[in-house]
């Protein structure tokens, strides 16, 4: 537990430093004049990393769910649950940013664009994951049902990632797959700022995952101690 907390502090410290650097880059180091959409593009430096990070967190849920289904070890169920919760936190922040950008640029709070709609489905699905968990009492059954959603739910995440490429969408695309790999029109300072924001979100995600897993482990430890006292 002591080592885990040390790792948590390293991640949290890195997240704080990288976030400040990312914000500095976003508002001071990146140019405005090369953009087609003006100041509202400042949202993208953190919006896109948040989207990727929420996908990574839901990926943790998917991998841990598979691990649970294979090994039947409840430890993996905890990781799956934690991944889904952190993914939803990032998802909520992502939607907040996205909705404000939509309002400022398109003049509407919401449009039923494939990217927005499919991400809303992702959020609702992982919300349902928690409803399901709270409605099943037996831990083994709960873990099994939740793992099924954890694995199948990731299809909606992949679909959201691909939605702007396979469907007609007005959502901006930052990177696209070209002949020479990923292509974008981002300038050097913009790319650096984007990458800093990306690592800030990854380290923040790591810190939150460690903190949440610790909470779950302590809760389990309390139950065991209570049993010991009771017995």
């Amino acid at each position: 537990m002591a080592l885990r907390m040390r790792v948590f502090y390293v991640f949290a410290g890195l997240a704080a430093v990288l976030t400040l650097a990312g914000l500095y880059g976003t508002f001071y180091a990146t140019p405005l004049e090369v953009t087609a959409i003006g100041f509202t593009q400042k949202i993208f430096y953190f919006h896109v990393p948040m989207a990727i990070t929420s996908g990574v967190a839901f990926g943790i849920t998917m991998i841990a769910s598979i691990a649970y289904l294979v090994k039947k070890d409840l430890k993996w169920d905890v990781w799956a649950y934690v991944g889904a919760e952190i993914g939803l936190v990032f998802g909520a922040a992502l939607l907040t940013m996205g909705i404000l950008w939509t309002r400022s640029t398109w003049g509407e709070w919401w449009t039923w664009d494939p990217r927005l709609t499919s991400y809303l489905v992702v959020i609702l699905l992982y919300g349902a994951y928690f409803v399901l968990r709270s409605s099943v009492e037996h831990s083994g059954e709960r873990a099994r049902y939740a793992a099924s959603i954890g694995v199948l739910g990731y299809i909606t995440v992949i679909f959201t990632m691909l939605s702007t490429r396979i469907l007609r969408s007005i959502h901006p695309v930052l990177f696209k797959l070209g002949k020479s790999g990923f292509e974008s029109g981002i300038e050097h300072q913009m790319l650096i700022t984007f990458l800093v924001a990306m690592f800030a979100m990854f380290t923040l995600c790591g810190a939150l995952v460690i903190a949440k897993v610790t909470v779950e482990n302590l809760t389990e430890e309390i139950e065991n101690l209570k049993d010991e006292i009771g017995g």
């Binding site: 959409i37 936190v89 907040t96 404000l100 400022s104 903190a211 309390i222």
Partner: protein
């Protein structure tokens, strides 16, 4: 940012864009800080509970030994 699909997007005047960008950045940090506060509160509460319960278990073990 030279977004690939940016051609179809309008250039929003700076004075109109600032409140939205500010609200977006404030909004996300409010969400993260609120979540961190909830997690931190839970963690310290659980730690205190574990310490208290561990002490109780130790006390129980000692009294058991003494009675034997």
């Amino acid at each position: 940012m030279l977004l690939i699909a940016a051609a179809s997007l309008p250039d929003v005047p700076l004075e109109n864009a600032i409140p939205y960008v500010a609200a977006a950045y404030i909004g996300i940090w409010v969400i993260f800080f609120a979540y961190l506060l909830v997690l931190g509160g839970k963690l310290s509460g659980l730690r205190r509970q574990v310490e208290a319960l561990t002490e109780e278990v130790e006390r129980k073990k000692k009294t058991k030994k003494a009675s034997v």
